[in-house]
Amino acid sequence: MAEGKLADPIGLPLDRVDGQLKVTGRATYAFEYATQGGAAYGVIVPSAIAKGRVVAVDVQEAQHAPGVLLVLTKDNAPPQTPWGPVDLPDRFARAEPALDSDEVRYFGFPVAFVVAETFEEANAAAALVSVRCDSLPGQYDLHSAGPTAEDPGHISDGAPANSSVGDFEAAFATAPVKIEALYTTPYQNQAPMEPHATMAVWEGQMLTVHTSAQLTTSPQEGLARTFNIPKENVRVVTRYIGGGFGSKLPFYVDATLAAIGARIVGRPVKLAMTRPQLFHMTTHRTASEQRLRLGADRDGRLTAYGQDALVQCARFDNYTEPVCGAARMLYAAPNRLTRHRLAKLDLPRSDSMRAPGDAIGLLALECAMDELADALGFDPVDLRLRNDTEIDPERDRPFASRHLAEALRLGAARFGWDKRIAKPASVRDGRWLIGLGVASAVRADVLRSATARARLERDGRLTVELAMTDIGTGTYTILTQVAAEAMELPVDRVTVRLGDTRFPPTAGSGGSFGAATSSSAVLAACRKLNAGLALGLTEAEGSVTPADLDDTYAHAGFGAHFAEAAVHRDTGEVRVRRMLGVFAAGRILNAKTARSQMIGGMTWGIGSALIEENHVDPRYGSFVNQDLASYHVAVNADVGSLDVMFLDEADPHGSPLGSKGIGELGICGAGAAVINAIHNATGARIRDMPATPDKLLATLETLDA
């Protein structure tokens, strides 16, 4: 069996085991499933108002349109469990009914559903449904809702909304050097390449949904709750996913309506949300208002550390973006205050988007640190080093491993930080102003529950099964590597099967816990199987739980971002010429997929600094950008050369494999490094993200003079 064995496959830059299937179009995505007899196609009709009631839906014309099998509205939808419950511990397993009432809760809310023989017929008929609504006044503007925003009690990761250590106000009032700044970040959409899509099939009482989801057991439970049927009667299959970025943590009405439609028309029904629908019918990242107050003594030691965040959630929801999460553990300071306030607006639901909380929290915080360095006359790297801490400053636990300082030092050396001229607008290259910026990265690390099954087949191959998902990150590949190493098999003798609730349950992909959690479960299963082989064991299950992470320690990945930005003196265009990210993220399971995660995260950082934003039009309560021509994510041309470096980090107190989450660490702080580089280049302090050319013109006009 040892023949052809790879030496310790974990960590090798193995190509994706599903890569060939994907590039040859043989990886089947939810909408692509074919069934016997063929599926019917569904199209959702969204509301044209943001808040109010559906008074009447005229389906006459649609019903008689060619190919139409079903027009579903509030008048003929089957009874379902109302949305929620809002306080369910697993919010992704809430009931998600569709057309169950006449209430319109946000713009683009589903108000009818058409099923027809072909997609084209369903789509044409959907346009014939005429919906009459009574509009009610709603509240849509985050900033004016600030004064009446509520204290949500908890933020979405379960931590308290407010935290306080020492006496922040007194310390800030008397701090010899301080800055106070208001930062704002815009609404953002996850915009995955693959839209949310489902094909639902009923066989007797058994419902199977082929859907595009980051989780498996949660939608299984949620659909069972919605239809009030046993969980065992629902099977969720999600083998390949074209990106989720948090937007596929919840399941949506595509699953609900496909299931209802399939039940009624008596054959499989498939539907994919349209790109414009994605912007409202799925979740988004909240906009935020963040007040940063930082006080320090003249040696650059933080004495007062304050962050107040205002965020949005849907009127009927309670999601609170954990904006201050990073602030609570990044730097030492004896007096601290963080607070979240939640504005419930009549907008679509906010929820997770890649690095919820930290992506935007650090965007503000790490820019504010740059402002403080400026006020102190300190080098920004030195300021961060001076405030490093081995102890989680709010929970008073040592970090299991923390190599922020190493990342900053090594990064500074590799990037050529010593060439930075502190005085803004000092470096020119023709009409371009050049600047360098730095920011720290941090992302809390968690372990969730998962079970995996490992089975040695007769032909000596190993099959590993678990209800995990690969959302495009490389999960199939790393689990193959972990299983191969644990069983001392070559990787090509291992088959990993994911994305099916028939496999043992896992927490799925999200919050960067996916790799550590699922690979720990695979490791446990394989070890058990390996140990039992001599006794004739051919199959074993192994599990991991949150308790496997020693909670006498604080767990987080760290890193440092360095960016060089060029700003055009006439036009205010910003180009990121190069960026370096140095990360301490535990044991790396696959050098190639890990690097991909990091450059992806850094690219997102560039996007959030320079480009990405959606606007709510407060007159209508709808997002203004509803396609990818107007909702800009970073493209190749926006990204200069990206350099990624991982520190060797062994974490004896971490997950069983010693790995940490890497899916989100790369975005954390990345945007701030770019914004700080813009400041160094021009002297402009951008506090209202993103830094589009218009926001730089005023500074450039003064530089002209």
Binding site: R431, T571, V624, S630, D638, L697
Partner: protein, 327 residues
């Protein structure tokens, strides 16, 4: 999308005849029209595909310029060696637009007639005089960051999205058309587009069924040509503002200049004011700025797009400086 009849054009005459019905449309690359049909912003019941028509050539014209067939793709036009040598501003402008995939499909005629990217034009739940005459203009009091600042009306402040047309305006291009009755005419590109006034849904002077056959470029003007586009992201985005310039320098003075802006009006905005200000001006940033000011004297912002006025001036300055070699 609504069901429609699809016809492959047999001849120029039959294509024009078919397309005179009010609910008929020509389709070329389809990169704009099909998107609009999917959203039911355009709802033609009859499509006349001009694909079979012999309009895909670029030929030398008798006067020493080029005649570009309406079906020449944006990619082919940008890559043509004659264009790159003699009209580099046109090649640059085309390559600054859309993406490689789109340019492979998009055609010369279709590009000229692409419709605005105003967000409210695209959201069929919002008032929009262009999409639904008389319904109002949501952009006026809304998110009008991408909208126009000059030449528009209180009924519609939509901007034209084409890059190609901006270069063509600077090159004094002429559009050659043929109508159902076989009558041909030549329209200066500047006269192709109708100001929005109180009929923003009528965008050009073309009659129903009138087909663009070709675009004629007069012989290349003397001087340095340059296209400069400023957009939110570095590629694959419509212009915030763009500028096409053709400028001749003689010692420290500008001898002749042509200036056209994109992203600021309902059409590619040729600026006689800027050109007049430049003639004889010193080759300095200060005089380029003065030309920009002259060009934008009648411009006004609508809130979110106020920045386009200084940005257009600064972009002109950058383009002229690059074209004249001012450091």
């Amino acid at each position: 999308m609504k069901p429609f009849r699809y016809e492959r054009a047999g001849s120029l005459a039959s294509a024009c005849a078919s397309a005179t019905e009010p609910t008929a449309k020509f389709i070329a690359g389809g990169t704009n029209l099909l998107d609009l049909m999917k959203l039911q912003i355009e709802t033609p019941t009859h499509l006349v595909d001009i694909g079979p028509l012999p309009l895909a050539e670029i030929e030398e014209s008798a006067e020493g310029g080029l005649r570009i067939g309406a079906r020449v793709t944006n990619s082919a036009l940008a890559a043509d060696m004659r264009v790159r040598r003699r009209y580099p501003v046109l090649s640059q402008a085309i390559l600054a637009g859309a993406s490689a995939q789109l340019r492979n499909k998009a055609t010369t005629g279709g590009n000229l007639l692409q419709r605005t990217r105003c967000s409210y034009f695209y959201d069929t739940t919002k008032p929009c005089n262009k999409r639904m005459p008389g319904s109002g203009c949501a952009a006026l009091g809304g998110l009008n960051r991408m909208n126009a600042v000059i030449g528009v009306s209180s009924d519609c402040i939509a901007a034209h999205g084409s890059d190609m047309a901006v270069a063509m305006a600077a090159l004094d291009a002429r559009v050659e058309t043929v109508a159902a009755d076989g009558v041909t005419r030549t329209i200066p590109i500047d006269a192709l587009y109708r100001p929005p006034g109180n009929t923003p849904h009528i965008e050009t002077v073309l009659a129903p069924g009138e087909l663009i056959q070709s675009v004629v470029l007069p012989p290349p003007p003397p001087g340095q040509q340059l296209y400069r586009k400023v957009r939110d992201r570095a590629s694959f985005a419509f212009a915030l503002v763009s500028v096409a310039v053709v400028v001749t320098r003689e010692d420290d003075r500008v001898r002749a200049a042509r200036v056209a802006f994109g992203g600021i009006s309902y059409k590619p905005w040729r600026s006689a004011e800027a050109e007049a200000a430049l003639i004889g001006a010193t080759v300095t940033r200060a005089s380029f700025d003065a030309a920009g000011r002259a060009a934008l004297r009648d411009a006004r912002g609508y809130g979110y797009n106020d920045f386009k006025i200084p940005l257009a001036r600064r972009t002109l300055r950058a383009a002229l400086a690059d074209a004249t070699g001012v450091i």
